[in-house]
Subunit: 108 residues, 2 copies
DNA sequence: AATATTAATCGTAATATTGCAATATCACTT
DNA sequence: AAGTGATATTGCAATATTACGATTAATATT
């Protein structure tokens, strides 16, 4: 097969999986870290910092964008990325909630 | 290609990616939730509760086990799974730290 | 207008993941 | 020893992911 049977899981389970899957590649971890550390971070800056080809970085960026975690600002010919803090908080809360519930349930 | 160039990333980035990738499938989210909620949860119980075939559940279990998140107890012919709390805490701290740093950095 | 810069998209190859049927293994029961 | 139950492994098909060269599109610069 190769596809995921998403329909047999509930919305929350799929959301948790979507967010963690998005983070689940070291290039995307690195991209998120770089963007949060550097204002005015564009695609080229990430290509140089990380060492993957430009199309590869662009592809990873679009995976992250699909979840809504990134904002874009055009300045001249540059496209600067920044973190969408609302989405970051949503993502963080969802995942943290998963950990808290797992921990509380498993030790009672 | 298809493979990940792990060597160009640091240990922490790979660790974060490994843990989040392990959680990044709704079946594995569901498996972890079930195990934490039910003491004496074995493979068959998961198969019935989730609705995927036994080999599929077994495969997802082994993905989770690879990260050390599960403990096993043999009782008769049953193999009961439970959450390794130390590993859960390690995983939670690592991911939370990633979120905290991202948040602190991006809004200063 | 021609050129350079920036980033997305296309096309493709290699590899990984997801899912299941069939089978194997291993422990317990009879 | 044969049978049963529980789980792991094997083998395979379908799909997804990762990576990059080539190309495209869009904007800036000269």
């Amino acid at each position: 097969m190769g596809f995921t049977k998403k329909h047999i899981f509930n919305t929350q389970q799929n959301q948790i999986a979507n967010f963690t899957k998005m983070i689940g590649h070291p290039a995307r971890v690195s991209i998120i870290q770089h963007i949060s550390l550097n204002k005015n971070c564009n695609c080229n800056a990430l290509v140089e910092a990380i060492g993957l080809a430009q199309p590869t970085i662009s592809q990873h960026l679009s995976e992250i964008k699909k979840t809504g975690l990134l904002k874009q600002t055009v300045k001249g010919k540059n496209l600067f990325y920044s973190i969408n803090q609302n989405k970051l908080n949503e993502c963080r809360r969802l995942i943290n909630d998963f950990f808290v519930k797992t921990q509380v349930n498993c030790c009672k």
